[in-house]
Symmetry: D2
């Protein structure tokens, strides 16, 4: 049994993570951290866990965490996360980091987009980007894995295979993405108050969203050439799910069928990505670790529609998928539900 | 033209109020207050008002308000409201108070439920309860009117006529009420964060909701006898609307048709209450000042289903209806939309 | 491995059932029926099952079903279901029937509420009511089990223990229930069209809902005395979940703590019912087989708030829980997710 | 008083239209048509109109309609609408046609996209396209006006001024549009059943939506050059509202401020279009006839975000705005609410 800790256990991704870990036959949850005082039971924050997990939320330091856990999932915010991850990794623990801290390989790009000097720059570039559909070989046995952002997962799964196959151009990529509100986290704020965002649809952070450089980096890797995407996030009045409508300029004249075949080839043997014929909606992947993709050609442009659950394939499911690869467990363990 | 001010202009009820006032041919809005600094334009808080109302939010004292306005709508929280209302009324201004401060006639009951010593106890009992369907005669020409709570409006309109007619008993009344989330206000908090209350339905403040004594008081007045209701509020994942399912024990053996006729008689000539045959849903009164009522008899119990829009008939529409009565304007002025 | 068939596999309960069965280590799904022509793959109706279940929807007769399956879950409508269940049971197959056909013990009551003459009246009363928290001893080894209605499950779990313990009276019970829209099924109709029921809350079938006699029957059994409840169903703009607010008159003067203790005692060792302290919302049991109960005493009345997921504990989860008891598998098999 | 008829009065756009017409001081509603039998009162279909409009739904022929009405709003489906509009126009009545029948100037394009031979091809091209912000001069005094589609309204208002000013290129325009569910109409179907589209987000009719040629035609007119847009509609789980994210390639190097100024200049004196600084959400125009636009420049691409209420500015509000221009009433009559 792997002794597992969850840092920052009060948020939505941590909640989904805990539910997955409770199903995992090789995992024992041994620590849940939070800055809340008084060691409240986890069920007081997530009442759904009543009778299913009797652990308190504790305000633990790195040493205590390292003592109790073999592997740690950090759901802490960026910057705060790297500080703890560094300690835990230096102490020989395995870590899946949900924050953006280890996703970008260049500390300068990190500083430019996140406004922070990185506290652990030596590890950047050596930590694999935790998208097993692309980087499973690097994740096997890794000590630290950078769990991808939710938007990047939806965008990269849609376009990386087509860039890799040279079927679309590296310039002119537009990613029009739409996310449910859980992606904005569990801290009360006006923009995600129910009567503000219910029955409304809006774009936000246009041209400024921090997931942009992460998408550039991985699509650039796939294309073996620089990529600069135009990425527009929108907020949908629903709990969960991301749909990305990706627009790209084709190279040559591949048909819809050929493009779909290229995607199917790429994802052959990869259990969590399916290329579907009918246009997918987010609900059909909601609550699952699956990504559904569909391709269309419209007036000389290639469209790929990509659907994931932002909290599962976009966060906690991907984290356990990474965990399975890190430890050599079957990739789908605890992830078919 | 009546010069009108709105105190606490950033919330949802104030927003609906402003839209109604903009339609009112006898009104000029002359002051909007808020504690926000820097005199931001109202459209920065309510972007829907862009190009429709060019007034700043100002942090004004009572004197300045009294100078600028003939009539003031106070959307301030309880206790804070009474302090200002007292000054404005003492200065001869008319006031419609949205808070609970002048609804209860007994300062002791007020203190027991609101935990505050009333700052203006002399006015209690002299200020009419602003439900024109019951108290229009007292509201005509009044200086201060206590705008009713949203739940009480839905409950009282359902049962007061039947109590008055002696058709139901004063004991054993159960009010199972369901409200949209806007009723909880615009201050960010965890319970009304989108991913918390969306796709969920819950009871809250069971046995403790502060609208209880207000319902007791007015239904007691209707019955000419003490009434103690069991009132259970619930939160519905929708923006607006209240449906109250009222259960009462009949006196005698009136049929559904006779009970409906009693309600229709009571509301004859009252433009905003309709007794309907089919079971009403909140949507059919959403965005209106109407209340729809339906009666059913089930296994010896009388049920009245009552629907209103909590922000309009439950707050801002009622306030303008009161204003119309106070000033002698036709009751429906600015309220048919 | 038990070979399992699902009859009427295109609806919401069948979809949830299939997902649970796919997780069950002792089950192999061998037949999915529907009247649709052309043997379409199940993933064409439920795209979420793409890559997870490769079976067609088939229009099969009883003989073919009996040949392929050891146990059958019937999600057919009432009347249609009994006809098939009778054949399958006569052929020695085990059946969990989701319809109302075997829930009522009296064919006359069935005829009165469902307007049909029962086609298999001999089995009525011998088929256990599939609420294992009350009737596990009868379900063990049963050939046919009548899976309970969703509203009855939420209501009975709330009140049966208190009636059994003599803590509440049998008369004056009011059940104010609220359900998500999936309870209305997957056949397109105006009342459940998105723009009709979204942002609205309404009561329906007041005094006429067919779940009424089923609640009467089981609560009457618990009380060992006739019970006639007042049951009012409402539609909530959300996908899933039922909250029932149950009002009852206490016998004697039990405190909230004593009533909660009585519930806790009753459900000791029963893994799917939890008595919680904070008022529960439907979201905390959404997607689970759990029922959360809370008790309050208000002005001399006992309130029990009960939350379930209508599609899981109110239908498909309960069905597999029954299946587990019928076959002697651990009760929670495939049901902790 | 203009005697006005509404054809096809049971749908959502007709309902919004009736509410607006009830506020219009120059209008008397004299006919409401529907194919429903038995002359049911309009309030039986739209209970919100209880006590506000006492007219039956009638199955009337063109002659009867022409006799009763000076002006007719046709909310009939395409093809069915043209047949009636032709008769009414030939009889000298004024018509605002909500269908697509008179929007396209080329009967061949109409046949290609709508699969029907046009029954009134002589009028094509002579009927003005009812977007007063562009074509008020043609709408003044017109006999028939083609009310625009909802998506085209949101897209054209965003881009026509920039094309007209030569600030963006005619090729490479991408319109990623998102609409609330009311846009799909009131006929029950599986795709808009509540549990199907709630909590889901999906693209539909990609590359095939019939609003495409209408957008091409009007943007081509604005650019004085052929335009072929890539238009992708999506369904948002909300009642109403359209947000279009328009992507275009700039000509030259206009800044965000210059582009916004170009839009502001174009819409100067036009009361229903506002260029706003903060990114708009659909809620801020919900229930209004306003369109809010915002401009952003991202990595060398111009983005215009456009928000309207699909039922008001996208349908019924625009229709009354056209009516006001046709008859010479002030443009905002009945439209500020």
């Amino acid at each position: 049994m792997i002794r597992v800790g969850v840092l920052g256990a009060t948020g939505y991704t941590a909640y989904e993570l805990i539910k997955i870990l409770l199903r995992h036959p090789e995992v024992e949850i041994t620590a849940l951290t939070s800055r809340q005082e008084g060691r409240p039971p986890i069920s007081s924050v997530h009442p759904s866990l009543t009778g299913r997990l009797n652990l308190p939320l504790e305000d633990l330091g790195s040493d205590e965490i390292a003592q109790r856990c073999d592997c740690v999932f950090s759901c802490l915010p960026h910057a705060a996360s790297a500080a703890v991850v560094k300690s835990l990794a230096d102490a020989g623990r395995k870590v899946v980091d949900f924050s953006a801290d280890y996703r970008l390989h260049d500390a300068g790009v990190y500083a430019a987009w996140y406004g922070e000097t990185h506290v652990d720059p030596e590890r950047l570039g050596r930590v694999p980007y935790g998208l097993p559909e692309l980087f499973a070989d690097r994740i096997v046995g890794a000590q630290v894995v950078a769990n991808p952002g939710c938007y990047p997962t939806s965008a990269i799964l849609a376009l990386a295979p087509l860039l890799r196959a040279g079927l679309i151009r590296t310039d002119g990529i537009i990613l029009d993405s739409k996310s449910g509100v859980s992606g904005a986290g569990r801290t009360p704020k006006l923009t995600t108050l129910y009567p503000e965002c219910n029955e409304s649809f809006a774009a936000y952070n246009v041209g400024k969203h921090r997931h942009t450089p992460e998408i550039d980096q991985v699509l650039g890797w796939a294309a073996s050439a620089p990529v600069e995407v135009i990425f527009t996030p929108h907020l949908v009045p629903m709990d969960r799910g991301i749909l990305t409508t990706a627009y790209a300029v084709p190279v040559g004249s591949a048909s819809e069928a050929q493009l779909a075949a290229a995607l199917r080839d790429f994802y052959a043997g990869k259990p969590f990505v399916h290329v579907v014929d009918a246009l997918p909606g987010t609900k059909q992947v909601s609550g699952t670790n699956f990504c559904h993709l569909a391709v269309r050609c419209v007036r000389g442009r290639v469209l790929v529609i990509s659907c994931i659950d932002n909290l599962i394939k976009g966060a906690s499911g991907a984290a356990v998928q990474n965990f399975n690869w890190m430890y050599g467990f079957p990739e789908t363990t605890a992830l078919l539900f």
